[in-house]
């Protein structure tokens, strides 16, 4: 369960204060698939980042599976992310100096998993990149990089998966492939999936769509009952 309560996020800069999130509250039960949509600058990515504990809100609280993030130290937050959250970025953010296999293995290694490499190899196989293990990110296409990033996000089988515009940097074919992969893995692992997007088509594959505008929730709609996420359109 993700519980966001009365979160305000303000950023200071250029002599004035910018309110990115303005008293946002919401709850996401386990295993739900949620799309957060809205125009640029509406605070979507910031909200997702706060859910992952990548930053702290100016006020309000965020609670994940009963744990309040704002009370945790930075190191505790890092370990919490390692065990609980998988994160997929729009810009993939693979570590350029590591091979595809090593990139996927990092979270497992952080958990000191002795089978990190063989599990990473299995995951790469699962995302269809079994033959690209020893390739470096620059040697992969955008779609392939994002599939590696998804494999990395799922490596520790986290209960919560957060994806920030996962298809934003991809062409439509690769985007569809990546989305299908996310949904498949969600089904297999049974994780909560929160996805930020500005494409309504993608949003409509989720069970629930939250629309943000100017840092506030404009609407919160359920498209289909829980546990019945649709396939790619």
């Amino acid at each position: 369960m993700i519980r966001v309560r009365d979160v305000v996020m303000q950023l200071a800069g250029g002599g004035h204060t910018l309110t990115v999130l303005d008293h946002v509250s919401l709850e996401i039960p386990d295993k739900q698939t949620v799309a957060i949509v809205g125009p640029s600058g509406s605070g979507k990515s910031t909200l997702l980042g706060l859910m992952a504990g990548l930053d702290r809100p100016t006020s309000g609280t965020i609670e994940i599976n009963g744990v309040e993030l704002s009370s945790m130290s930075e190191s505790a937050l890092a370990e919490f992310r390692r065990d609980t959250i998988g994160y997929v970025f729009q810009a993939f953010h693979l570590i350029p100096t590591l091979t595809a296999l090593e990139n996927v293995a990092v979270p497992l290694e952080l958990q000191a998993d002795p089978r990190a490499h063989s599990r990473a190899a299995e995951l790469l196989m699962a995302v269809g990149l079994g033959d690209r293990r020893q390739h470096y990110p620059v040697q992969l296409s955008g779609g392939e990089q994002q599939r590696v990033a998804i494999a990395r996000a799922f490596a520790c089988r986290p209960p919560i998966l957060l994806a920030d515009e996962p298809t934003g940097n991809l062409d439509s074919a690769a985007g569809r492939q990546v989305l299908a992969l996310l949904l498949d893995l969600h089904r297999d692992v049974g994780a909560t999936l929160v996805l930020v997007t500005h494409e309504l088509e993608i949003a409509h594959t989720m069970e629930r769509v939250i629309t943000l505008k100017d840092g506030r929730i404009e609407s919160d709609r359920f498209l289909r009952p829980e546990g019945a996420a649709g396939g790619p359109p």
Binding site: S75, A78, P96, L98, Q111
Partner: protein
């Protein structure tokens, strides 16, 4: 330590090894300099220790400044009867001359000052004398046919004497009253004390030959050495104490081979210690390179670090990754440096011999081989210094990792470092701003400071020198840093330049995130060391060579006997036309007591190094004093306490006037009583005045001057100085040798040239080590260029896309590097002047002078260097085609 940290460290290094070449080389250069110096020091010291007996020539040495009395001889005979072997060696300065009718001598080179050594058949007790042809020394020196029809004693000489006088083995040479036949060339002499400073070539004759030469007269400058060798390896100290007691009346210094070398050892120790500090400077300059590399690396890794944090790596874990990486790279660099130092070691002796012509290495059985743990210790010390320095310089930039927020990857952010200015304009600062007094940073700085102090003291071997060095270095670094920042700020404040080339060059220096300050510090520091050494050397050499007044004496004649005084003065007057020449009476003496308290003779050698005041006191207590008797206060002497005696003043007690420093070190005041041992007779005198002496005025100066009449009947010899015009000196010397064979004429120019040569060798050695700092400085610049390479590439293609030609960009780069060199040069050279001024004024007591040619040359060379290094660092960028680069953006 976490296994993950090691794995990641390896992966990061694997991918970025090009980056780390500079890191590794920066450490390697510094460690290489240090290991070279300390490996050399260790092997020389080992050799000196190993050959201590043959360097002294025996187990025990008894040294006096006059032949032993009959009683003294009896003591030694008694000791010999206990199973000790003994040899008697006499050493003195003398004139060698080619006999009048000898053929083959080049015109005008018929006399030569030599270092004469007379030995007996038992010599040497340890080691072997190298002679060509290989015959026994006793046979070569004995009396046999050879001098025309008459039998005469033999001599073996250093080759340089044959060259200077144009002689060959078999020729004759006249020393004092005797003629010797040159029977061989001496190639190795085990007990010739390592001496960078020598007055002339060595000539070895027999004791019988010395007697025949009639050179040793009362008061002659002769060093008598009696050497003893025990059978087996007995305890020597009881005998030493016994001899000191029984030979007290002879003013003899008795020492064992263990204590005999401290002078040499101390000289080597100090030389290598200071060279080591110069080497340490190279390592610290390399440290700046390490910091630059790590700083640039962390900045480049901003995204990856944020990703790692997002994936669940804690900050301490990420810091660990980069610390592990720095540790391993530092080890690799240090090992490479140590390897370099050791491999140079093998070539060093021959290199030094050819470069410096050091007598020392000729005399020692020197080898670059390692047979024990000392080599291991040198390497271990080099590794430790390298790793610690690298870690110290890594600490600060690696700590910045803590401040990277994982949220940095939420947007494409302007990458801002904490030190690159204007954080307020960035909406999403990638780095958290910390208060300046962040506890971890403060403690890291403290660790760095303590670490640096420890390293400096370790290298210096003394906390005083270490902290002095470090204080100076930190001061210089601070000044360099501030000066560089101010100058860069000044550049920024300049009104806009119209030329694009220059504007772009200026912009590259003062833009946020520019590495100019680090580069200027590194190059400025290296330059400071090198230019200071040059300035010091030049000032010292100038002091002894060019500042000599034109009418200053050119020759001094020593060992003139009282009955020869008039004759010598008359001869000097006849040859030079100078009238009113005088000869100063000289007396060789030692201090016997101060205010009735007897002086212990061996004090100095037994004192530890870290008590400089006591050492100085002991030096003044035990040295030999050449004293004189004068009616008037010599020129350039100033009485600072007490009064000078009035001419003709009747005195019941003898008076003495003592030099200021000596008085202070001996604890003597006006009214104190000094007792001097003059050739076995103790003379006491009351201190009447204390003088300040201008030692560098090229006159004959004295620590102690006695009042007229106070030393009646003492065995004086006389010294006369004279100024000769070119062409006068050769006939003068020839006549002198014929009429007064025991008088030695020493050319002051030769002595000063010898001094200048010695300074030159020393400064060459220091320059050689300081050169490592310059390499490090250049490396820092190369590092900084490589760190900004991508940015430059990107900008250059954009400029090209906008229509800039390759030459525009090249000129702009060249202006930037020249400006960098100019600023670094001005600051470094400025500091060098301050440093050398301070050292000259306060340490050497000499005046500093402005050296425009040296400074301008250094500045131009620096600019040339930065432009060349910059060119090699960036010329690859110039040829890149815009589209090929932009496609990857």
């Amino acid at each position: 330590m976490n296994l993950f940290a090691w794995t990641m460290a390896w992966r990061e290094t694997r991918a970025g090894w090009r980056h780390f070449v500079y890191f590794v080389v920066s450490v390697a250069v510094g460690v290489g300099a240090l290991v070279t110096v300390s490996a050399f020091a260790t092997s020389v010291e080992r050799t000196v220790t190993r050959e201590a007996r043959s360097l002294l020539g025996g187990d025990i040495e008894i040294r006096t400044s006059r032949p032993l009395s009959a009683e003294g001889q009896a003591v030694l005979s008694e000791v010999q009867s206990r199973g000790y072997r003994m040899t008697h060696v006499s050493e003195l300065i003398a004139m060698a001359a080619v006999p009048g009718d000898a053929q083959g001598a080049p015109a005008g080179h018929t006399t030569q000052v030599v270092e004469l050594k007379a030995v007996d058949p038992a010599y040497p007790l340890y080691g072997a004398v190298g002679v060509e042809p290989a015959q026994s020394l006793a046979a070569l020196l004995g009396v046999r046919d050879g001098c025309r029809s008459q039998p005469c004693p033999g001599a073996v000489v250093q080759e340089s004497l044959l060259i200077r006088l144009g002689l060959r083995p078999g020729d004759e040479i006249k020393i004092g009253q005797a003629t010797f036949s040159i029977r061989g060339v001496i190639t190795k002499e085990p007990d010739r004390m390592a001496n960078a400073f020598s007055l002339g070539p060595r000539v070895v004759i027999s004791q019988a030959g010395l007697q025949a030469a009639e050179l040793v007269k009362p008061g002659s400058r002769v060093r008598e050495r009696y050497l003893l060798r025990a059978g087996g390896d007995p305890v020597l100290l009881p005998l030493v104490h016994e001899l000191r007691g029984r030979l007290a009346a002879e003013s003899a210094r008795v020492s064992t081979y263990r204590e005999a070398q401290p002078q040499l050892k101390r000289f080597l120790e100090q030389l290598t210690r200071y060279l080591g500090l110069v080497g340490l400077t190279a390592l610290f300059v390399g440290g700046i390179g390490v910091a630059t590399t790590v700083h640039a690396f962390v900045r480049e890794k901003l995204q990856s670090i944020a990703v790692l944090k997002t994936l669940g790596a804690t900050t301490p874990l990420v810091v660990q990754i980069y610390v592990v990486q720095a540790l391993v790279l530092a080890l690799v660099g240090s090992a490479a440096g140590a390897l370099f130092g050791l491999s140079v070691q093998g070539a060093l002796p021959s290199l030094l011999r050819t470069t410096f012509g050091m007598d020392l290495l000729d005399q020692l059985e020197f080898s670059g081989r390692w047979g024990d743990w000392s080599g291991f210790l040198v390497v271990a010390k080099g590794l430790a210094l390298g790793v610690l320095t690298a870690l110290l310089f890594t600490l600060w930039p690696v700590l910045a990792i803590r401040d990277i927020r994982p949220s940095v990857i939420l947007r494409r952010l302007t990458v801002q470092t904490p030190d690159s200015g204007s954080p307020g304009k960035t909406r999403f600062p990638a780095w958290r701003r910390r208060p300046t007094l962040d506890p971890l940073r403060v403690s890291a700085s403290a660790v760095i400071l303590v670490g640096l102090t420890g390293l400096a003291m370790w290298q210096a071997g003394s906390w005083r020198v270490g902290s002095l060095y470090l204080g100076g270095l930190l001061g210089a670094v601070l000044v360099l840093h501030q000066a560089a920042r101010w100058l860069i700020r000044g550049l920024r404040a300049l009104p806009p330049v119209r030329s694009l080339v220059l504007r772009y060059a200026l912009g590259n220096i003062h833009r946020p995130g520019s590495q100019a300050v680090g580069v200027m510090m590194a190059i400025g520091l290296a330059l400071m060391v090198i230019v200071s050494v040059s300035l010091l050397e030049r000032a010292l050499v100038e002091q002894v060579t060019t500042t000599r007044p034109t009418d200053a004496p050119t020759y001094f004649f020593i060992d003139i006997q009282p009955d020869q005084r008039e004759g010598v003065l008359e001869l000097l007057h006849r040859h030079t036309g100078t009238s009113g020449l005088e000869a100063l009476p000289l007396l060789r003496s030692r201090l016997a007591a101060v205010d009735g308290e007897a002086i212990k003779l061996e004090a100095e050698q037994e004192l530890p190094n870290d008590r400089p005041d006591e050492r100085r006191r002991a030096w003044y207590q035990t040295r030999e004093y050449v004293v004189t008797v004068l009616e008037n206060l010599p020129k350039d002497n100033v009485v600072v306490s007490g009064t000078w005696w009035t001419p003709g003043e009747p005195s019941e007690t003898p008076w003495v006037s003592i030099e200021e420093e000596a008085a202070r070190s001996l604890g003597v005041e006006v009214g104190s009583t000094l007792s001097l041992d003059v050739q076995g007779t103790v003379v006491s005198a009351k201190v009447r005045s204390i003088r300040k002496v201008e030692w560098s005025n090229f006159s004959t100066n004295f620590y102690m001057i006695f009042s007229p009449g106070s030393l009646e009947g003492a065995p004086f010899t006389y010294v006369a100085t004279v100024h000769t015009e070119p062409g006068q000196d050769l006939p003068l010397l020839q006549d002198m040798v014929v009429q007064f064979p025991n008088v030695t004429g020493i050319h002051i120019g030769d002595v000063l040239d010898g001094f200048a040569r010695m300074l030159d060798r020393l400064s060459m050695a220091i320059h050689a080590v300081a050169f490592f700092s310059l390499i490090s400085g250049v490396l820092v610049m190369a590092t900084a260029l490589s760190a900004t390479r991508y940015r430059r590439l990107y900008e250059s293609v954009i400029l090209k896309a906008l229509g800039a030609t390759r030459s525009t960009i090249a000129r702009s780069y060249a202006s930037e590097y020249a400006l960098l060199g100019l600023i670094a040069g001005v600051i470094g050279i400025g500091l060098a002047n301050v440093l050398s001024w301070g050292l000259l004024e306060y340490l050497f007591d000499l005046s500093w002078s402005f050296q425009p040619s040296l400074l301008v040359a250094s500045l131009l060379l620096t600019i040339l260097l930065t432009v060349v290094v910059g060119f090699f660092g960036t010329y690859g960028i110039l040829g890149r085609r815009p589209l090929a680069v932009l496609r990857y953006e």
